[in-house]
C-alpha cells in the first residue's frame, strides 16, 4: 500500500498511470472482510464501480450488503482489504474525510434547520461563498421539485419529501460516489415507485455514481445498471439485470431474482436434461458431465402451456389466479410433489383441472449441479 502515500489527495484523473488497480475508478473495493464475533458479515468482497454507474447491493437481511456499504462510507472499518475512492485509499479514514455522499433510510434531516439550511450545510462545511451556496441550493431544490418547501422544517414534510431533501443534501456537493442505504424502505409502495423513477432520472441527468442497498428485487431491477446479489457475506453474482435474470450463475440468484422453478433430473447430453418426472427438457448449453444429478431452472414467465403431448412434461392445473393482465397458474406435474408456477398472458389461461403440457425455450432454461445451493 505504500504507493498510495505518494498519490495526490485529490481525485486523480483516469489517464494517470497508477500501480493501484482501479485508481481511476470512482470506487474500487478489494477483498474487504468484516466479522462480528463468530459471524462473518462480509467475506472478502471485491468490486469495481465505474463513473456514472448505478450499482445495487441486493440481498436479504444478514447478507452483508449494508455492512459493505458502511465500510465504504467509513462507519464500519474492515479488518482486511482496501477501499479506494478516486484513486485515494480511504480504508482507514474517518467518514468525514472520505468526501462521499450518504442517504440514510431514516432520512436523518437536521430537525433544527430548514430544508434549505439542511441542503446548504455540506456546502458551508466546504467554505463556499454565500452567493454560491444560495445558487446551488436553489438549483438542487428546483431539480427535486422542492423549491416551495425551502423554508419549511423537516417535520412539516411528508416522508417522501423528507427523503427527497436528504437526496438533495447528499448530492449538492457533488461527491464522487453517493451511497444509499435502503432510502425508500420507510415509504409506502406507491411513493416508492414514484421516488424510484425520480432517483433514476436525477442520477442519469447528473451522471451520478450511486451505490444503492436494498432487499427488494424489483427495486434493484428498476434502478440498477449492475446488481451485486449478496448472500452470506459474499457476492453471488455481479452483473446487469438482464444477465442476472437470463443467465443466473447460481440457483440462489435464479431464485432470488426470478423465483425460478427448479426441476430435478439427470444430465443427458450437453443440451438436455432427463427430468425425474419422465420427459426430456432441452436446455441452454452447459458444461456439466452427462449422468450428473442436476436441477433445471426456469422463470415462471418463461414457461408456456401446450397440448399434453407437445410438452416436456404433463400435469394438472391446480390454481389459476388473475393478477391484472397476467395469470398465475400452478400446475402439478405427474409424479411430482411440488407444483410448477407459471405467469402467462390472461388470454391463454387454462382452466382448473385441465390436463396440459409444459414447454420452454431452451435458451431460457439454466441448469445447476444438483447438489449446489
Amino acid at each position: 500500500m505504500s504507493e498510495l502515500h505518494v498519490m495526490s489527495e485529490k481525485q486523480s484523473p483516469p489517464t494517470v498511470a497508477s500501480p493501484v488497480s482501479g485508481a481511476g475508478k470512482p470506487l474500487s473495493v478489494t477483498k474487504v472482510r468484516k466479522t462480528y464475533g463468530a459471524m462473518t458479515a462480509v467475506d472478502e468482497v471485491s468490486m469495481e464501480i465505474g463513473a456514472g454507474e448505478f450499482v445495487t447491493f441486493l440481498g436479504s437481511s444478514g447478507s452483508g450488503k449494508t455492512t459493505t456499504l458502511m465500510m465504504i462510507a467509513g462507519f464500519v472499518e474492515p479488518e482486511s482489504g482496501s477501499i479506494v475512492v478516486g484513486g485515494r485509499d480511504v480504508t482507514r479514514l474517518a467518514p468525514q474525510k472520505r468526501g462521499l455522499g450518504f442517504v440514510f433510510q431514516q432520512y436523518l434531516l437536521f430537525p433544527h434547520m430548514t430544508v434549505s439550511e439542511n441542503v446548504a450545510f455540506p456546502l458551508q462545511l466546504r467554505g463556499l461563498s454565500k452567493q454560491e451556496i444560495r445558487t446551488r441550493v436553489g438549483e438542487t431544490l428546483e431539480m427535486a421539485g422542492l423549491s416551495r418547501f425551502a423554508r419549511r422544517r423537516p417535520r412539516e414534510l411528508s416522508g417522501g419529501q423528507q427523503q427527497r431533501v436528504a437526496l438533495c443534501r447528499a448530492l449538492v456537493y457533488r461527491p464522487p460516489v453517493i451511497l444509499m442505504d435502503e432510502p425508500l424502505g420507510a415509504l409506502d409502495k406507491k411513493l416508492r415507485d414514484q421516488l424510484q423513477t425520480e432517483i433514476k432520472r436525477i442520477q442519469r441527468e447528473l451522471g451520478l455514481t450511486v451505490i444503492y442497498v436494498t432487499h427488494d428485487q424489483e427495486e434493484a431491477l428498476v434502478l440498477s445498471d449492475r446488481i451485486a446479489v449478496m448472500r452470506d457475506g459474499r457476492i453471488d453474482q455481479f452483473d446487469t439485470p438482464q444477465e442476472l435474470f437470463e443467465r443466473p450463475r447460481t440457483p440462489f440468484v435464479a431464485d432470488f431474482l426470478g423465483a425460478a422453478n427448479f426441476l430435478p433430473g439427470t444430465v443427458e447430453s450437453d443440451d438436455a436434461v432427463r427430468l425425474d418426472t419422465g420427459g426430456v427438457l432441452r436446455i441452454r448449453r452447459h458444461d456439466l458431465a452427462s449422468g450428473v444429478r442436476a436441477r433445471a431452472a426456469v422463470q415462471p414467465g418463461r414457461l408456456a402451456v401446450c397440448a399434453p403431448e407437445d410438452g416436456f412434461c404433463t400435469g394438472i392445473v391446480e390454481t389459476v389466479t388473475y393478477v391484472g393482465t397476467l395469470v398465475r397458474v400452478t400446475i402439478r406435474p405427474d409424479g411430482a410433489d411440488t407444483c410448477v408456477r407459471l405467469e402467462i398472458p390472461a388470454g391463454r389461461a387454462p382452466l382448473m383441472g385441465d390436463r396440459v403440457g409444459l414447454t420452454a425455450d431452451p435458451r431460457d432454461v439454466s441448469v445447476f449441479d444438483g447438489t449446489a445451493g
Binding site: T35, S60, S61, S63, K65, M70, F75, V76, E79, E218
Partner: protein, 305 residues
Amino acid sequence: MAVLAPPPEPVVAAAATGGWRRRLSGRRTRFGLLNATPVVVYLLVLFVYPIFSTLLLSLKDEDGGFTLHWYADALSGTSLDILLITLRISAETSAISLVVGFLLAYWITRLRPIWAGLVMLVVVVPHFISALVRTYGWIILLGDHGLVNETLVALHVPGAPFQLLYNELGVVIGTTSVMLPYTVLLLYAVMRGVDRGLIAAAASMGAGRLVTFFRVYLPLVAPGLVNAGILSFILCLGYYLTPALMGGPKQTMVASLIDEQVMKNNQWNGASALGVILLLLTFAGLLSLRLVKSVSEAAKNRGGA
C-alpha cells in the same frame, strides 16, 4: 417471487470482538469514564462521604471508642415515641394520598385529553411550588379564623370552629398535600398503561363491575399502587417542614428531633444515630420496592410462558 422483507441488518452488532471495534469500544469507554468521573467524585465527596461520616459518628462515644448507646438512646424514651409518631404519620399520609390519589388519577384517565392535560397541570404545578409556601397557605386556611373554619361556622356545622392546626390532623393535611402530586403522577402513569381492551374483555365474558374491578383492574395497577405507597411513605419519613410548622409538640417527627439535637443541644452523635435509623428505614422501603418489582415481574413472566 421470493418476497423477503427483512428488518435492516444489524450494522453495529452488540457483540464486537473485531480489533477496530474493540479499539472503538475502548475509546467509548474512556470517553464515558472521563465524563462520569466529575459527578461520581462530587457525589462521593459531598454525598456518600458525609453520610458515611454520620454513620461513624453515631458509633463513637465521647472518647472516640465504639458504642451503640446512641442507638439505645434513640430507641427508647421520648426519642422512640417520636420515631413511632413519625412512622404513624407517614403511614397515615401515604395511605390517604394513595386512596385520594387513586381516585383522582382514575378520574383523569377517564377525561378527554385536553381536560386531562389541564387537570394534570393543577396537580403538577403545586409540586414545583415550595412546600414551605404551600404549608404557609394551609396555616392561613386552617387557623381558628381561617377560611375553612369560617365556612364551617357560616354553615352552622355543630362544633365549629374546629382545632385544625398544631395537632395530628393539621400535620396529615399538610403532608398529604405535599405528597399527593407525587402519588397522582405515579398512579396516572400506571393507569394509562392499562390496556382498556382487557377490561372490555372481562366485561364481555360476563364479569360484573366489581369482579372486573377487583379481579382485572386492581391487579393490573397493583404494582403502581405499591410503588406509590412505599415511595410517599419513604419521603414522609424524613419530612420536616410541615410537621414543624403545622404540628404541636406531640407531632414532633424525627427530622425535627435531629434538627433540635444539632442546633440546640449540640448533640451530634445522637442526631447521627437518628439519621442512620432514618436511612435504614429508607433502605428497607427501597428494598421492598425492589422485591415487589421482582416478584411482580416473575409473576408476569410465569403468566407469559
